[in-house]
Every structure is written in structure tokens, then in C-alpha cells.
């Protein structure tokens, strides 16, 4: 089939594409409006949900985590939204308690990281932070229910302050790094290997990573001088232990 071969086809084509374009815009606009409505509806539902379950959100960590996930999925940040503008979603929903909860927790995380820094070089497992905070609460008679997710959110909430606190993964563990100094690749590799048994020896590293003697020695000495490992010189070969394992009740 032949069509639009004459000069007139040119104008016809332009016209057609104009129609298409405006039609496209119309569809897009309708789509956006529809989405916005949906989002509004969803937010309203979420607000209603939050109102009804405010108590659970405050007291139940699993619930809190799931709720926070749901919020971030639709672009509501529980931690920044109530401080950025007054009378916002969260402030209305939960009073300031949700905010206070995370900021108070953040303060305690900072305190704990500071207090343990000498012994662990500023690297501590998220799980340990959680256990220590909960143990302390038990000792002082209160009972708190905090999840690792809460700790992570609390650390996240420190970011705007330029706190130098970050969460890094060493092997399968999530750790809080409270010293701005970055680990070099060899250091991270060794720390990851340490997670398996709690310690490493130079010969284990040489065998498993096929590093030469000097590289192993340098990596271990770097870790020692950053307080990230402790040495035990009473075994057959020096053992380098991660202080992460201090609280884990090692089996002899």
C-alpha cells in the first residue's frame, strides 16, 4: 500500500505527530492524576492505619520495621518528614514519639560506640549494640524491645549530622563503623575471614588467601594498630581475635 508520497504528506505527517504527542500528553497527565489520587488514598489509609496501631508501632519492633518499610515504599520517610515541616504526617500520627524513639536510640548507639571504641577500634556488630542496649535496660529495670532494624534506622538518622557513623558489611555481619577511617581491602578481607572462627593465624591467612608472608603481616599489623583485633600469644601460633567475639561466650 502506498500513501503520502506527495508534498502534502509532509504536512499530514507533522499534523499526525502533533496529534499523537498531545494525545500522549493527555494520557500521561491522566495517568499522573490517577497515580496521585491513588497515592493520596493510600496515604490516607496509611494514616488511618498508623492512628489505629500507634501503640503497636511504638512497642513492637517487627511491626515498627514493617510499617517503616511500607512508608518508605511510598516515599514517606518516618525520620525526616516530621522534622522538615511542622504538622507533618508523622508528627500528626504518632506525636513525636516515633522520632524521639529513634533519636534517643541514636544517642545511645553513639554513647555505646564511644565507650567501646578503645577496645574494638570503632567497629561493632549491630547485633552486639542491640544486645548491650537491651541488657542495660534490663539491669535498670525497664524493658525495651529493640530490633537490629531499629539500630540501623537510628544510625541512618545520624547521617544528616555528618556524624561519621556508617554501617558496613563484614562477611555476613552488619557492623557499625564509628571511626571515619576507611578499611583497606586487605583489612576488610582479613576481618571477613575472622568472622568464621573468631580469630585467624598468619598461616591460616597464607593458606586461604594465598598471600605471601609480608602481605599477611602487614594486614595484621594494620588491624592491630587500628585496635580492630587483639592478639593472643599463648597459642602455638599467634592468634588474632576480633573483639566482636568478646560478648559471644566462646567455647574453649
Amino acid at each position: 500500500m502506498q500513501k503520502g508520497v506527495g508534498l502534502g504528506a509532509l504536512t499530514r505527517n507533522t499534523k499526525a505527530s502533533q496529534i499523537y504527542a498531545s494525545h500522549g500528553e493527555r494520557i500521561q497527565k491522566a495517568h499522573l492524576e490517577e497515580l496521585a489520587t491513588q497515592l493520596n488514598v493510600f496515604q490516607a489509609v496509611l494514616q488511618e492505619f498508623a492512628r489505629r496501631h500507634a501503640k503497636d508501632i511504638r512497642s513492637n519492633p517487627t511491626f515498627r520495621a514493617e510499617f517503616a518499610q511500607m512508608c518508605s515504599a511510598i516515599g514517606v520517610d518516618p525520620l525526616t518528614s516530621s522534622s522538615s515541616k511542622k504538622g507533618s504526617f508523622w508528627a500528626e500520627m504518632l506525636g513525636t514519639s516515633m522520632n524521639d524513639f529513634y533519636f534517643e536510640l541514636a544517642v545511645r548507639v553513639v554513647e555505646l560506640c564511644r565507650a567501646t571504641r578503645e577496645g574494638n577500634g570503632g567497629l561493632i556488630a549491630v547485633a552486639e549494640v542491640r544486645d548491650r542496649i537491651m541488657k542495660k535496660d534490663e539491669r535498670t529495670g525497664g524493658s525495651s524491645n529493640i530490633s537490629e532494624d531499629d539500630i540501623l534506622r537510628a544510625v541512618e538518622s545520624l547521617k544528616p549530622l555528618g556524624s561519621g557513623f556508617s554501617v558496613i558489611a563484614i562477611g555476613r555481619r552488619q557492623m557499625i563503623r564509628s571511626v571515619p577511617k576507611e578499611l583497606n581491602t586487605d583489612q576488610s578481607t582479613v576481618l571477613e575471614v575472622i568472622q568464621v572462627l573468631g580469630f585467624v593465624t598468619p598461616s591460616m591467612l597464607r593458606a586461604n588467601l594465598t598471600w605471601d608472608r609480608a602481605r599477611v603481616q602487614t594486614a595484621l599489623e594494620d588491624l592491630l594498630s587500628d585496635s580492630l583485633v587483639w592478639v593472643d600469644d599463648q597459642a602455638d601460633e599467634n592468634e588474632y581475635w576480633s573483639p566482636t567475639f568478646i560478648s559471644q561466650g566462646l567455647q574453649p
Binding site: 577500634g121 592491630l224 594498630s225 585496635s227 587483639w230 593472643d232 600469644d233 599463648q234 568478646i246 561466650g249
Partner: protein, 184 residues
């Protein structure tokens, strides 16, 4: 002995006690500072729990204070001395024999705190105005079960010195075996 009276003994061992490097002097200064602090706290807790007013180094090195038999790890004598020396600087222990360094007095309560404990006892049993021998005071039947029962004479003397200064007591005699004290 008194340790056997409690039904559920509190866990006096810190987590670090089961961490093998705790028994090796850490080469890194920062880590060592944390290690020293942990040892100091542990030694005080241990002595308070067992009501030890003195620590004889050679005995302590073989006891479970400095020797974790399960881990087969122990603190070396020189390292133990370094720990105790650091504690002395903090006023927590005192060498009985300065030069040989074989025994320390352990102040799991400072003399001023002991003075208060003692004075509270004096008031509660109505011993104000009476004269007691030092032996009677810390080893006699009437103070059995008191926290200061069995207190080492040298610790007691530092405590009484505080009380004399506060005008709460006056010591009588000079020979330690025959000394007495009068409380006001």
C-alpha cells in the same frame, strides 16, 4: 567461705574473661588502655566477691583470677604487676612490700567509704564511747557477717586514719597487735 553462703552466685567474670587475648598484654596502646581498665574492674569485683583484702601475687597467678584453666590462658607475672601498678596509681591497690612487689592491699572500697561503713555500724550497735581492740573490731564475734569483717590490719589502719581526721575515732597504743580504738 562467705562465697558459699549465697545461693545463686552472681557472675563475677566479665565477657572478656573468655576471650583468649585478654591474657596477653596488648601491643597497641589504645587497646591496652581498654584491657587495663577491664582488668582493674575485674580484680576489684573478684576481690569484693571473695572478700579479699589482700592479693598475694604468686597465689593469685595460679588462681582463677589470673588463670583461666578452661581456656588454658594465664596472665604473665610481669603483666599482672603492670596491671596492679596501674591500679596503684589510681589508688585502688597498695603494695604491702614496695620493693619486692609480692602482695597488694586491695581497696574495693576506698578508705573513706570504709570509714562510713564502719561508722554506720558503730552507730547502729551503740558502740560510741567504748574502746575496742582492733582485733575485736574486725575478727570478733560481734562483727561477724559485717562487710568489714576480716579486714586486713593495714587497710583498717588507713580507714581509722580517715576516721581520726574526721573526729569520729581515736586510736590507742602503737603496737598493731595491741592497738585499740575509741569511737565518738
Amino acid at each position: 567461705m562467705s562465697a558459699t553462703t549465697s545461693t545463686t552466685p552472681p557472675n563475677i567474670y566479665p565477657d572478656l574473661y573468655n576471650f583468649p587475648p585478654f591474657f596477653t598484654r596488648q601491643p597497641n596502646t589504645t587497646t591496652f588502655a581498654a584491657q587495663l581498665h577491664a582488668w582493674s574492674t575485674f580484680i576489684l569485683t573478684y576481690c569484693r566477691h571473695h572478700r579479699l583484702f589482700t592479693l598475694e601475687l604468686s597465689t593469685a597467678l595460679d588462681s582463677d583470677l589470673f588463670h583461666n584453666k578452661a581456656l588454658n590462658r594465664r596472665l604473665k607475672p610481669a603483666d599482672a604487676v603492670e596491671v596492679l601498678e596501674a591500679m596503684r596509681k589510681d589508688g585502688l591497690v597498695e603494695w604491702v612490700d614496695g620493693a619486692t612487689r609480692s602482695t597488694v592491699l586491695v581497696y574495693w572500697r576506698k578508705p573513706a567509704e570504709w570509714a562510713e561503713v564502719l561508722y554506720r555500724w558503730v552507730e547502729s550497735v551503740g558502740q560510741k564511747g567504748s574502746v575496742l581492740t582492733l582485733w575485736e573490731l574486725v575478727n570478733g564475734e560481734m562483727t561477724e557477717g559485717e562487710e568489714f569483717h576480716g579486714m586486713h590490719p593495714m587497710v583498717l589502719q588507713s580507714v581509722l586514719a580517715v576516721m581520726v581526721k574526721r573526729g569520729q575515732a581515736q586510736t590507742i597504743g602503737t603496737e598493731i597487735d595491741e592497738m585499740g580504738v575509741k569511737f565518738f
